[in-house]
Every structure is written in structure tokens, then in C-alpha cells.
């Protein structure tokens, strides 16, 4: 080849190379303009060089007092479809694969994939499923199924799933399932908390969403700030004690064939709730059925703070504490029980319709005599003093516990237009007055705590990016004197050792009171069903726990002493182990020995 020919060849070579590059560019331009991804590029071009995005921080975690994780955040995936990328093949194969993986009707999926969304201006849709209770809900995938689908998307030999996109989203997860579900509350798919701790502390847990500009141009990329994070919470709940209470309650429900029930365990010294069990149990991971229940009964999700009831004889603790504190009666004062007393023209009888003869106040409490307590309230205390004490005990008022949905209960005082004098007699033994379980245990805790009533609470510590905060215990009041509280505790301890031995625990001195309450209806009190309960505390003389057991409509026996007292015993037998409370007396030993 001549020198000139070689030069010419070189020139042609360069021209061919440049021509190929130019042709490649043209092909790419055509592909971008008219290829399968053209709508995506078009949408991106229309959106500009950046898009505003609302960024939510991860919801705060919830721990029990020992660090057991009660609520955390998992990842779920929504299935989104870029409708303009769908092909006839991918429509069929997406519907087929999802139907098999998720056990969903293929026709429903295919109908969503073939619908003319673009005609309605919708180019990206989220696939949904039909829920028999709640209608259409977005399909959510867990990480396992999402991983399988991602592998399909990445594998060229897998079914054609062009147009399918998996969008990760945070999902509240409760590792313990139904454990403490009624305390925790629920979080919906939008990340909003309702009921319980999730509802009460929703603003704190959810943090603050911010809007950031997400650029598509790499040179404009900036380090975006994180949204202000939600706080982490440590609850006063002890997961082990909670589990113990839930197991005991479940067994009691089975044995007594009760309709529902609650157990609350609290430290009377500082108002910390150690356990709050409720039956039927609520699994916050699967809360949808409870939303339907809550439509009929608002108290269904948080019964311990919202399910008010007439407490029956457990309320005599409040009446007798008031009378002792006012100096209206002494423990050994004698009342001659004839089996009937009239207050405001209404006859009041004992639970067994019997006459118990001469009884001291200790006997009145031991045998739970309605007539005696009605005599105390109506003839020894009087309406003004009696209702002042009830108000001091917080009856008919919110306790202020940090759980969403608390209700105040109902108390008619003489100022109330519907109050009658007979209320003075019936209220003394817990009829005609409504309380919530948390109200009753808070009032009884005042007696256990030497007359000091402390606000119940479930949050022990709040951890935020700025630091850690421990709420202090709040004293709600001193409804009765320390002497009256101590005297009544002694009376109830004596009665527990005598009549209520089903609640006694060997090695521990305890005080407590049974309750068997009738259930009011539109046509008076239900003749068949009762609410059986027991409230007790210990170990004396320095109580460190108080336990309330409530069983609704037990079938095996209507009496609190038969169905509720043994549950108290079962709980306390295990509770003293968890709380490291030795039976008295313990042997002192030198440190390091």
C-alpha cells in the first residue's frame, strides 16, 4: 500500500468510527424518545430536575423496663405499577406470579393491570386486595416475598414483570404479638398511632416529617438533613410480669368461662404500672378486626382505662377509708345488722339477704355487709363528707394516666340533678357509681400507700436526640390520713386471713377486698350476670404492689371470692419472685460473704 493510500485508509477508518458513534447516538435518541422507557423519561422531564419529597423519620421504639423491645419498625413493600411500561405479556405474568405468591384471585389482579388508568391521568398505581371487613386495601409484602420478586425482576429468564416496582415502607412491628397489645395501642398504615401508648405519645413517637428536594442531577446532589427523629420510650411495664398476668387471666377466663377480664399490677408508691392485661387479647400486628369492634364499643381496645363498671364491694375500701379518716367510725365500733336498712326510702339488703347481728367494722368489711356500709355512709359520714372524700379519691375524674382513651367514670353528687338520697346508701357499697379499673386501683393504692394517691403512668423514660428524660411521679392528693390507711390495711389483712383465704399467699402478709357487682341495664340490674373482682396489696407493712383482678360475667360462679380471689393469689405467688420480695423474715448477711 502506498503512503497516500495508507493516509486515505486512515481517514476512511476515522470517518467510519465517527459514523458509528453518530449512528449509535441517533439510535439511543430514538430509543429514549420512542422506546419502552420513553414514558418514564417523559415523566421525569416533566417533573423537572428535582422533586419535592415528604420524608418521615422512623417511628420511635418502645421498650419494657428491662429493655425488651415491645414495638419496633419493620419493612414492608407496596407493589406499584408504572402503567405505561406494561406490556400484554407482563400484565399476564405479573397477575399470575402475584396470584400464586400471595394467594390472591388472578382475575382481580389482571383487572387492575388492564384498567385504563392512563385515561384518568394515573400513570403509577398501587395494587390492592379486597378485605371482607374493610374493603380494598393496598397489597403489602413482607421482606421474604419481596426478595423473591426482586430476584424475578433481576433475572432475565424469569417471567416478564416489566412495569412492576417494589416500594419499601416502614411498618410498625410488635415482636411479642398480643403481649401488652392493649397498652401499646395501634399504628395504621399511614403511621398514625391510636389508643394506648401509641395514641397518647403519637406526636412524640412519630417525630416530624420534613420536605426535601430530591435532585435528579448528580452535580446538584446535596447531603439532605434527616427529619427530626421520634423519641424512644421505656415503659414501666415489665414484660415478664405482663406475661404472667396475661397467662393467669387467660386461665381464669377459661376456668370461670368469663366473657372478658382485666388484671392490673401497679406499684402504689410511685404509680408505675407493672402489668395491664386484658382479655380478649389484642395483637397490634393484626388490628383491623379491632377497629370494627371499637365502632360498637369504644372501650374495647383499652378496657383498663375506658371500660367503666359499677365496682361493687371493692368500693367499700374507699367508703371505709373515708369513714376512718373522718373519725366517723373506729375498727371496733359495733353495728347491729338486721339485714335491712332504708336510705332515702330505698331498702338495702346484704349480698345474702341475711342479718348478721352485732358486727364490728372489721366484721363489716370481712363479711362485706352492704347494710353496714350504707349505715356508715348515710348515718356516720353524711352526704357532704362522703362525697367530698369520693372526690378526693378521684372518683368520677380522669386519673390522667398516659394512655389514650381514658374515661372519667360517673359519680352523681348531691349537686347533680339526678342524685337522690338513696344514692348515698348504694354508693357506699359500689352501686350507682361507675369507675374504670384504673380509677379503682388508683384509689385503693392510696390506702396501700399510707394515704398518698399517686398518678398511675406507663412511661418510665423518654429518650430523644437531645437527651433522656424521666417523668417524675405525680402525687394526685392525700385523700385519707396515714393512720386511717394503716388501720384499714390492717382490717383488710385480717379479713384476708379469715374469709378470703383463697387470696392468701404463704409467707406474705397481704390485704385485699373482694367484689361482686351487679350489672345495670335499661330495666334495672341484670339478675343473671355479675362482675367479679378483687383488689389486694402487699407485702405488709410496706406494700410494693397492688393487684386488681376483674372478670366480667363469669359462668362458673358469680362471686369475686370464688373466681377473682384465686387469680390474685396465683399472680402474687409469681409476682413476689419477679420483684425479688422474700417471704418474711429474711436472714441478713454481710456483703461479700
Amino acid at each position: 500500500m502506498t503512503n497516500q493510500g495508507f493516509r486515505r485508509g486512515r481517514v476512511y477508518g476515522v470517518m467510519v468510527a465517527m459514523g458509528l458513534v453518530g449512528a449509535g447516538l441517533i439510535v439511543q435518541l430514538i430509543r429514549v424518545q420512542f422506546g419502552p422507557y420513553a414514558p418514564v423519561f417523559d415523566a421525569r422531564e416533566r417533573a423537572g430536575n428535582a422533586r419535592s419529597e415528604r420524608v418521615r423519620p422512623a417511628r420511635g421504639l418502645i421498650y419494657d423496663r428491662d429493655g425488651v423491645l415491645l414495638a419496633t419498625n419493620g419493612t414492608m413493600y407496596y407493589i406499584e405499577i408504572e402503567v405505561r411500561q406494561l406490556t400484554e405479556t407482563s400484565r399476564k405474568e405479573i397477575a399470575s406470579v402475584l396470584s400464586k405468591l400471595l394467594v390472591l384471585p388472578v382475575d382481580d389482579l389482571y383487572a387492575q393491570l388492564t384498567y385504563e388508568w392512563a385515561a384518568n391521568g394515573q400513570f403509577r398505581i398501587r395494587l390492592t386486595r379486597d378485605d371482607p371487613l374493610l374493603g380494598r386495601l393496598p397489597i403489602r409484602l413482607d421482606t421474604t416475598v419481596a426478595t423473591v420478586l426482586k430476584e424475578f425482576l433481576a433475572d432475565p429468564l424469569a417471567p416478564d414483570m416489566t412495569g412492576l416496582d417494589l416500594v419499601p415502607t416502614s411498618q410498625r412491628h410488635y415482636p411479642n404479638g398480643p403481649l401488652a397489645g392493649h397498652i401499646l395501642g395501634i399504628v395504621n398504615q399511614e403511621g398514625e398511632g391510636f389508643f394506648g401508648v401509641e395514641g397518647y405519645y403519637d406526636d412524640w413517637l412519630s417525630g416530624k416529617a420534613i420536605t426535601v428536594e430530591r435532585t435528579f442531577l448528580p452535580p446538584d446532589a446535596r447531603l439532605e438533613p434527616d427529619p427530626p427523629a421520634g423519641v424512644n420510650l421505656v415503659l414501666t411495664i415489665d414484660a415478664d410480669i405482663q406475661q404472667l398476668a396475661e397467662i393467669a387471666l387467660s386461665e381464669a377466663i377459661d376456668e370461670s368461662e368469663s366473657e372478658s377480664g382485666q388484671i392490673i399490677v401497679m406499684d402504689p408508691r410511685n404509680g408505675e404500672i407493672l402489668a395491664m392485661a386484658a382479655w380478649p387479647t389484642l395483637d397490634p400486628n393484626d388490628y383491623e378486626p379491632w377497629l370494627v369492634k371499637a365502632e360498637d364499643d369504644e372501650s374495647a381496645i383499652t378496657p383498663a382505662v375506658a371500660a367503666q363498671y359499677e365496682p361493687g364491694s371493692t368500693f367499700k375500701v374507699v367508703t371505709m377509708a373515708s369513714a376512718l379518716s373522718a373519725g366517723a367510725v373506729q375498727p371496733n365500733d359495733v353495728f347491729v345488722d338486721t339485714g335491712l336498712i332504708e336510705v332515702g326510702g330505698v331498702p338495702i339488703r346484704n349480698w345474702d339477704y341475711g342479718a348478721w347481728g352485732p358486727q364490728t367494722m372489721i366484721g363489716c368489711m370481712r363479711y362485706s355487709l352492704n347494710v353496714c356500709l350504707a349505715w356508715v355512709s348515710s348515718q356516720k359520714l353524711g352526704a357532704s363528707t362522703f362525697y367530698n372524700y369520693l372526690t378526693e379519691f378521684g372518683v368520677g375524674q380522669l386519673t390522667g394516666i398516659d394512655l389514650a382513651g381514658e374515661v372519667a367514670g360517673q359519680l352523681r353528687t348531691p349537686r347533680h340533678p339526678e342524685w337522690t338520697e338513696s344514692d348515698l346508701g348504694t354508693n357506699a357499697f359500689g352501686q350507682g357509681v361507675s369507675v374504670t379499673p384504673i380509677q379503682l386501683i388508683t384509689a385503693a393504692a392510696a390506702v396501700a400507700n399510707g394515704g398518698v394517691m399517686v398518678q398511675p403512668h406507663v412511661v418510665l423514660e423518654v429518650a430523644s436526640p437531645q437527651g433522656t428524660y424521666r417523668p417524675r411521679s405525680v402525687v394526685l392528693g392525700r385523700p385519707v390520713s396515714p393512720e386511717a390507711a394503716q388501720t384499714l390495711t390492717g382490717m383488710l389483712a385480717e379479713s384476708l386471713e379469715g374469709e378470703t383465704r383463697q387470696a392468701a399467699v404463704v409467707g406474705y402478709q397481704l390485704a385485699g377486698k373482694t367484689g361482686t357487682a351487679q350489672i345495670p341495664g335499661e330495666k334495672g340490674y341484670d339478675p343473671k350476670w355479675t362482675i367479679a373482682s378483687f383488689v389486694g396489696w402487699g407485702p405488709l407493712p410496706d406494700p410494693q404492689f397492688i393487684v386488681l383482678v376483674r372478670l366480667d360475667r363469669p359462668k362458673s360462679s358469680p362471686w369475686g371470692s370464688v373466681v377473682a380471689a384465686p387469680v390474685f393469689q396465683e399472680v402474687v405467688e409469681r409476682l413476689v419472685v419477679y420483684l425479688d420480695l422474700p417471704p418474711s423474715p429474711a436472714v441478713p448477711m454481710a456483703a461479700g460473704g
Partner: protein
């Protein structure tokens, strides 16, 4: 000197052409160098931007993975599972009568659990960017002077 130079250009006019060509080329070289530097800086910026976007995505993915792993760990250590595992190993819940208590004077129980601070905080608290990436030349000089004077 000036006269001699004028005379030289008169005798050989191609020298004028060569001078203007030289100036043009010099200008062109300067423009090319500046353009090249601009291109290089922008290419680096784009590369860093892509890396930043990639790392942001990766960070979000890792936070999600951490969250999933934390949830899995919590699932495996729930009190219920631990109770089942203990039962399968032959243990049973202790009752007060099974336990011998000893009061040890001077014993201090371990302090309670404290929750970790939540993940995620403003950029400034993450360490942020070095001033070298954000300050202007004037700000840099002021900072330098203040450092020399020992103000900071």
C-alpha cells in the same frame, strides 16, 4: 529599540501574521485550559454527586436492614419464646418456696435499662461538611487571619 522593531516588521510582514496567530493561539490555549479545568471540576462534581446519591440510597437501605434485623432479633427473644425454650430445657418457673433468699448488706442492684437515642439527627449533628467545601475565599482568608491572631 522601538524603531528597530518597526523596521523589522516592515522588512518581513509575515512576522505580523505570526504574531497575531501566536496571540490567537495563546488565547485559545487559555480558553481550552480554563474549559478543561471547568470540565474536570464539573466531572468530579458530578461523580461526587452520583456517589452521594448512591450512598444516601445505601444508607437508607442499611437503616431498613438494621431495622429488620432488630425486629428479627426481638422476635427470637420474646419472653414467650424464652419461656418455651427454658421449658424445653427442663426448667420451670420458680415459686417463692423454691427460692432461698439472702439479704446481702451493701449490695447495689444494677441500674435499670436506658433506651438508646433514636437514629437520625440533623446534618450538623452527623458531622456535616468541612468548611473547605462551603466557605468562600473571603471567609477562608478571614478564618486564616483569625487563626493566626489566635482569635479561635
Amino acid at each position: 529599540m522601538r524603531q528597530a522593531r518597526t523596521q523589522a516588521f516592515r522588512q518581513a510582514p509575515w512576522r505580523i501574521a505570526r504574531q497575531s496567530t501566536g496571540r490567537t493561539l495563546l488565547g485559545l490555549v487559555v480558553v481550552l485550559v480554563v474549559a478543561g479545568m471547568y470540565l474536570a471540576v464539573n466531572a468530579r462534581l458530578a461523580e461526587a454527586g452520583r456517589e452521594l446519591l448512591r450512598l444516601e440510597d445505601r444508607r437508607e437501605e442499611l437503616i431498613r436492614e438494621t431495622s429488620v434485623l432488630g425486629a428479627t432479633l426481638a422476635d427470637l427473644t420474646t419472653p414467650n419464646r424464652m419461656l418455651e425454650r427454658a421449658a424445653s430445657m427442663g426448667f420451670h418457673p420458680a415459686h417463692a418456696k423454691d427460692i432461698e433468699y439472702l439479704v446481702i448488706e451493701g449490695y447495689a442492684p444494677p441500674s435499670g435499662f436506658h433506651a438508646p437515642a433514636p437514629i437520625g439527627s440533623p446534618v450538623a449533628q452527623r458531622g456535616g461538611l468541612s468548611p473547605a467545601y462551603t466557605e468562600t475565599l473571603a471567609e477562608w482568608m478571614v478564618r486564616l487571619v483569625e487563626e493566626v491572631r489566635g482569635v479561635r
